[in-house]
């Protein structure tokens, strides 16, 4: 009886200390319209976008219709016409009013043509504006980073080259010269690495110019600064946008 009582009192006090500890901590929530995540987690599922090839700028979509079939809410509709037994994309319609953000379309796609981009702010004033067509989807998907899947046949030959390159960003360039011996492969890998370096250099240089001037005007000087550094071009543009927004908000 006494032991029970002592235990009870002890536990009550422990409970008080637990909540007291949390009272002393800083809040983890963000004041949304003013503060935002500068960079969404890579795998977060936001709006559906269509991806296009980074070099040619054309859509990756091959009109295989798998995503349309996979969509549980029938939010995707693909319109195409046949030109010499080949399907040519006419329009790609995503109805965001009924999209349930399950990500099945992204899972089914074999060509890295559709993705749930980590973008989430697309509210509109009218319902009609939420039905997005091909051009808009492509535009939204331009700056979304993605990895083009490697075709199974050529994957074996390509792997070492990729390893030396360190990035798998451009599998298309390697598709031409892979059947050779070791040396050309290594060379190829070298050039690949340099290319990648150049690429990253190019994408990284505009960052400081873009971010620095807006820094002093930022209303929330919290822990957002170091996040900017590891952004790629997509994130910088977005953060620039959000900073603009926040400035507008605070004035």
């Amino acid at each position: 009886m006494v032991k029970k009582l002592v235990d009870a009192i002890k536990n009550l006090v422990i409970g008080l200390f637990t909540t007291g500890k949390h009272l002393g901590r800083h809040a983890v929530t963000l004041q949304y319209p003013k503060e935002k995540w500068q960079e969404m987690p890579e795998r977060s599922r936001g709006i559906v976008v269509l991806l296009s090839d980074k070099e040619t700028g054309k859509l990756n979509c091959t009109v295989c219709m798998l995503c349309q079939r996979a969509c549980p809410t029938a939010a995707i509709r693909i319109e195409f016409e046949k030109v010499e037994k080949k399907r040519v994309l006419k329009d790609f319609i995503v109805d965001n009013t009924i999209c349930c953000f399950c990500g099945l379309c992204e899972d089914t796609c074999n060509f890295a043509a559709i993705k749930m981009a980590p973008k989430y702010e697309f509210s509109t004033l009218s319902k009609e504006d939420l039905i997005w067509h091909r051009d808009k989807l492509q535009e939204m998907g331009r700056d979304v980073p993605y990895e083009k899947p490697v075709r199974k046949k050529k994957a074996v030959a390509k792997k070492p080259a990729e390893k030396t390159a360190g990035t798998a960003a451009k599998p298309k360039t390697t598709t031409g010269d892979e059947t050779g011996k070791e040396k050309p492969k290594a060379q190829n890998g070298q050039t690949e690495a340099e290319k990648a370096k150049n690429e990253t250099g190019r994408t990284e240089t505009p960052k400081p110019d873009k971010v620095e001037p807006s820094k002093p005007e930022k209303p929330e000087p919290g822990g957002d600064d170091n996040k900017n550094k590891k952004d790629d071009s997509q994130a910088t543009t977005e953060s620039g946008e959000s900073e603009k927004d926040s400035r507008k908000e605070s004035k």
């Binding site: 009550l12 409970g15 008080l16 637990t18 909540t19 007291g20 949390h22 009272l23 901590r25 800083h26 809040a27 983890v28 929530t29 004041q31």
Partner: protein
Amino acid sequence: MELVGIFKYLYELLADSGLPEVWVELIGLVAAAVMVFGLLALIALFLVWWERKVSAHIQQRFGPMLTGWHGWRQTIADALKLLQKEDITPTTADRPVYYWAPIIAFVAAFAAYVVIPFGEGLIVADLNVGILFIVAITTFTIISLLMAGWGSNNKYALLGGMRSAAQVVSYEVPMVVSILAVIVFAGSLSMVQIVESQELIYQWYIFRLPFGPIAFVTYIIAATAETNRTPFDIPEAEQELVAGFNVEYSGMKFAMFFLAEFVNVFTVSAIGTTLFLGGWQGPWLPSWVWFFIKTFALVFVFMWFRWTYPRLRVDQLMEFSWKFLVPLSFANLILAGLMKYSGWFNW
């Protein structure tokens, strides 16, 4: 800065103005009442905001942030909104009962402040039965809750009202008995004399071992139940009763219940301060500052409880009161009497 001097000066100014003495008395009383009322309304508004902040930060949120500095204007906006809302009376309600319930709750909550000393000399009326008056007047809350439950003609409201009546009646006993232990030691029912008997910190009744802490803890537990706060909030258990006795109330009447609830929290904290924590006594700062520091600290403890402990079941609630708190407080009362009689710790 002692407020008493200012009030005395104003009163003398009034007395010198040539009005008959009856009028001077009357105006003084009305002014005091209005001041206390305004102060408490402000405190209630502040407590609503503070409660939201404390709850938010315990859950590591921010709470209201958009209106003013950390959202301090939020409750003012809420109160103004409630003032504008339509005052709905259900067609099947028992009209007079329904109408008077919030008013009684409101008046009962505020009337207790007649005898609470806010500072040295800052008391509306130093009755020689002060604490008895408070105990009597705060019991009116039960009647108002029952009236609200009955008058609404709603099953949830009625259940809430009945539960709260059962709860408040059973926790009234340990609360009064633990107060009684202090009264036995102080030898007076007057709030001012009780405070004056604990001038130094070791004279505070919470530090008079062994009866003081026990009385204080039983008082705090019983007071939590009296004010219908978690973990004893079964009268308004949201998950079971929607909102309990005030389901049908809207607009200003709801606001009155709401304000009365927070004023009651402040009341029990103020009584706890007066009885156990030395009231206005304290060095350096003015007396009323000490009173408010201690009282708000106690209010914070109540809030802390609310966001820490889960709700008790009805039978657990009754068992806890009658099988544990009542015997404990009575034993404590006997202990206090023995200590007083033997002169132990009787400084």
